[in-house]
Each structure stands twice: as structure tokens, then as C-alpha cells.
């Protein structure tokens, strides 16, 4: 799966949690979930569960801690997909 495809899928996953719609429309690799998209920090775990389900992967605690922006999230998803 290409990074672009993952990004599009990720965009639809985070949409319900996002308070800043404009930042979502202009999503870049550097977009930060909490600071830019204004996702409630408690919802990060919900996003991770949704990612696991959408990509059929399991994300370990260490990776979870790094999933705070688009770039690192795509990288982690790629790694987990490669491990499958």
C-alpha cells in the first residue's frame, strides 16, 4: 500500500475526532493530531483502535507512543503491514 493510500485511509479514520476541519483538509505528513487537528488527547487510543481494525494490524505500546502525527503513523502502519 502506498503512503498516499494510507494517508487517505487515515484521514477518514481521524475525521470524527477532529475539531479543526481546515487542518484536516490540508493534511500533510507533519500534521500533529493534538496540536493541529485538535483531537482530544483521550481519543488517541480510539484512533489507534480504529487504525488496527482498518488495516488488520496490532500496534504495540512502544509504537503507540510515537503515533502523534501523520508521518510517524504512516511509518508505523507500513512497518506493521510489512511484518504481516
Amino acid at each position: 500500500m502506498s503512503n498516499e493510500e494510507i494517508k487517505d485511509k487515515l484521514k477518514s479514520i481521524v475525521k470524527p475526532y477532529v475539531k479543526n476541519e481546515e487542518a484536516l483538509a490540508n493534511l500533510t505528513p507533519d500534521t500533529d493530531f493534538i496540536n493541529d487537528l485538535q483531537v482530544n488527547s483521550a481519543n488517541l487510543v480510539d484512533i489507534i483502535l480504529d487504525v488496527e481494525e482498518a488495516f488488520d494490524i496490532t500496534i504495540d505500546n512502544q509504537s503507540m507512543e510515537r503515533m502523534i502525527d501523520v508521518k510517524s503513523t504512516i511509518e508505523i502502519i507500513q512497518n506493521k503491514l510489512a511484518e504481516k
Binding site: 470524527p16 483521550a42 481519543n43 488517541l44 487510543v45 480510539d46 483502535l49
Partner: protein
């Protein structure tokens, strides 16, 4: 001391969601009790219940799509609907401001919270899937979940808490709000209570054999307070909410005033004497009623109507006896008395608030709703008070003062005195 009035009402009851529907239902004696297939499938003795009907569109009006994701707490749903409705009814704003409303708070009670969510979480944990609980398992299952949801939706900046005292919960919440406003610690408090629906909340009562098993084929006839053929209560659920407000604040806002709270009392029988975990100590019940009357600076003779606890168990006669002795009134001199439970069942922690909403509506509109299912009054009841005191048909009548009492497990009591507002 401040004078305290009620300026907003909201209700989610088995026989009506929203004040207009509920008012119509209680005036016309419409039952909200239905056969419940889940209870039958689970081999309950009592297979009927009173559960409010809420469709998806209504849910979506009160909770966002995000809040409804993995949402599984009927009590929080009912409480949010009733609470927001009461707030709107009081003409209070719902807009989002940066600054909390420091003068407004909530005391919104419950017995348990999100019992279905709790069950779902326990299954996940035991299945080694704790990480899959999601971010809202705590908020939906903590006892104070309902006050936390309401506090956030309304931006409340005063006290935000949940009380819990079994079937007294709802009446207690109103009295706690009353005391806080009377003492000047808040201008307005959203008071009320809620109770979850379903087998996991009702099962314990079924096991105690305090629910009726004789009316599975005739659900609407099942809840029979004060009747000779009463055979136990029908479990129910829902929520009631009242905006309790400082009179000066209500007047300055030009708010509609439903009635005044002129006094009340909360006590416990200490599970001493005849009192136990599940049975009331009559000395404490009578003391609670007498002290509520004294607190309101009225006499027993001033009470026009009583909204009783009257659940349709074998304790109804004892409750009537306690009222006659506390008020020193009996026979045809006894006030009118009714029990909402004949129509909605026993809504447990929500009972006191839903029944208080009904009491306030009676004062405001001038009527006494009918008791249904007691065409065969219990001789214990009629040996104490006249049959005319127990309306079986709607009575349209101006009322001045209504006493409302609730009694709960743990031998706890609460009595509140509502009065028509006069300047």
C-alpha cells in the same frame, strides 16, 4: 436565606419522553409498562418493565456522532435528554462560551452507571482485550458519569456531582440542590436522577422476589400500588430533571416559575427498630415527614395532595399508616394521594425525580393524576383513609401544597414540600 423555585422541567419516562407527552400520559392514566422479550429469554420471573422509548434521531439531537461511538449507557442517555430539556425549558442558554457558568451546577443522581457498558468491558478484560476498551469506558461507567456529561454540555462551573441513595436518590438530589441555593452557594442547580434499563439492573430485584410475576400476559395491569391484588413492583427506568433556582435570579431573568420549594427533610432509620437494609423504620419515616412540614413552616392540614412512594409491594399499607400518623389526618380528612408507579413502574434511582416532575406539573397546571390499577383498593389502605382520597379519575383542581416522599434501601428517606408560587 434565599427563596428557591423551580424554573425548568425535563423527563424521560416509560409513558412519555418530554414534558408535553408525559403530561398528557399522566393526566390520562396511560401505562408505559410492556412485555420485555429479553427478560423472558433470560428466565426472569417478572417479564414486564417500564422502559422509555428513544429512537436514533432523538439520540442524535443530544449526543454527537463521536459521543455515540461505542456508547452503551442507557442511564446517561436518559439523564442527558432530561437534563438538557429542563435547561432549555428554563430558558437558559446552551451556547458554548470559554468561561464556565460559575453560578450554575448540577446534582444528578444515579444508582449505577452504564451497567451494559460495564458488562461489555468486563467481557473484554476477561478476554485479554483490555486495550480495546476505548477512551469512554470510564466516563460511561463512573457513578458521576451523568453529572460529568451534563456539566460539559452546559458548561457548568459550580458544584458538579452525583448523589446515590437507592430509590430516594431523585428526591434527595432536589433537596440537596435546594439547600445549596438556599444557603447562597449557587444561583441555580440542575437537579435530578437517572436509572439504567435492562436485565442487569433489574435482575437483583427479580431474585429478591419483590417484582410481580403475575402479569406477564397483562403488562399494563401489572403495577398496582394500593390495590388488594398488588403482587410486587414492576421495574422501570428513565430520568427526571428540574432546574432549581434562586427566586431573585429567576425573577431577574423573567423565567417561568413552576412552583416554590418551601422545605424538606432527609434522614435514615439507621436500620434500627423495624428498619433493615430493605424495610423502612416507621419512626424515621414519620420523623422525616414531620420535619419536612416543620421546615416548610406549614401544618399537616395545609397539604392538599401527597405523591407517595407506593411501589405495589406489601409495604403500601405501612406507608399510608405512616402518613396518617405523621400528618395526624385520616379517613376523609386525609389529603389526596397518588402513585405514579401505577403507570411507569418503579424507576428505582430515577423514581424520585420523575415523580417530582409529575408533582410539580400537578401544582402548575392544577390537576391530580389518576391512580390506575387500584379499582380493588387494599383493605389495609381503606381502613385508614377514605376511598375518595385515592383518585381513580383525573381531578382538575387548583392545588397549593404537595408533599412528595421517597424511601430507599439502606433505610433512607426524603420528603419535599412543593408550593404554588406566590409573590
Amino acid at each position: 436565606m434565599k427563596r428557591v423555585v423551580i424554573t425548568g422541567l425535563g423527563v424521560v419516562a416509560p409513558n412519555g419522553v418530554g414534558i408535553t407527552t408525559f403530561t398528557h400520559a399522566i393526566k390520562h392514566g396511560i401505562s408505559g409498562i410492556k412485555f420485555d422479550q429479553r427478560l423472558a429469554d433470560l428466565n426472569f420471573s417478572c417479564q414486564i418493565a417500564g422502559e422509555p422509548e428513544i429512537d436514533h434521531n432523538t439520540k442524535a439531537e443530544y449526543l454527537s456522532d463521536l459521543e455515540l461511538r461505542n456508547f452503551n449507557s442507557s442511564g446517561i442517555l436518559y439523564g442527558v435528554i432530561a437534563g438538557i430539556d429542563a435547561w432549555k425549558d428554563a430558558g437558559l442558554p446552551l451556547e458554548i462560551n470559554d468561561e464556565p457558568d460559575w453560578d450554575s451546577g448540577t446534582i444528578f443522581g444515579t444508582g449505577t452507571s452504564g451497567i451494559d457498558k460495564f458488562r461489555e468491558s468486563i467481557y473484554k478484560i476477561d478476554n485479554l482485550e483490555t486495550r480495546k476498551l476505548g477512551s469512554t469506558a470510564v466516563a460511561q461507567t463512573m457513578s458521576s458519569g451523568i453529572s460529568a456529561y451534563l456539566g460539559g454540555k452546559l458548561g457548568l462551573g459550580n458544584q458538579v456531582t452525583t448523589n446515590s441513595s437507592a430509590c430516594t436518590t431523585g428526591t434527595e438530589s432536589i433537596l440537596m440542590a435546594y439547600q445549596r441555593i438556599k444557603s447562597g452557594y449557587a444561583k441555580r442547580m440542575l437537579a435530578g436522577s437517572t436509572s439504567d434499563s435492562g436485565p442487569y439492573i433489574w435482575g437483583g430485584f427479580d431474585a429478591m422476589k419483590v417484582c410481580t410475576f403475575r402479569h406477564n400476559e397483562t403488562p399494563e395491569k401489572g403495577s398496582r400500588p394500593m390495590s388488594a391484588s398488588a403482587s410486587g413492583f414492576v421495574p422501570g427506568s428513565g430520568a427526571g430533571a428540574l432546574v432549581v433556582e434562586d427566586l431573585e435570579s429567576a425573577i431577574s431573568r423573567g423565567a417561568k416559575i413552576y412552583c416554590e420549594i418551601i422545605g424538606g427533610n432527609i434522614n435514615s432509620g439507621g436500620q434500627r427498630g423495624e428498619g433493615t437494609m430493605t424495610a423502612p423504620n416507621p419512626t424515621a419515616v414519620k420523623k422525616c415527614i414531620r420535619e419536612a412540614i416543620a421546615d416548610a413552616k406549614i401544618n399537616g392540614a395545609d397539604i392538599d395532595a401527597i405523591n407517595g412512594h407506593l411501589t405495589a409491594t406489601s409495604k403500601d399499607g405501612l406507608e399510608i399508616l405512616n402518613w396518617t400518623e405523621a400528618l395526624e389526618r385520616k379517613g376523609d380528612d386525609f389529603p389526596y394521594i397518588n402513585s405514579l408507579k401505577s403507570m411507569v413502574g418503579h424507576c428505582l434511582s430515577a423514581a424520585g425525580s420523575i415523580e417530582s416532575v409529575a408533582s410539580v406539573l400537578q401544582l402548575h397546571h392544577g390537576f391530580i393524576f389518576p391512580n390506575i390499577n387500584c379499582e380493588d383498593l387494599h383493605p389495609e389502605v381503606t381502613s385508614l383513609i377514605g376511598e375518595s382520597r385515592i383518585p381513580r379519575q383525573l381531578i382538575e383542581k387548583k392545588l397549593e401544597i404537595i408533599a412528595k416522599a421517597s424511601f430507599g434501601f439502606g433505610d433512607v428517606n426524603a420528603c419535599i414540600i412543593f408550593k404554588k408560587y406566590e409573590k
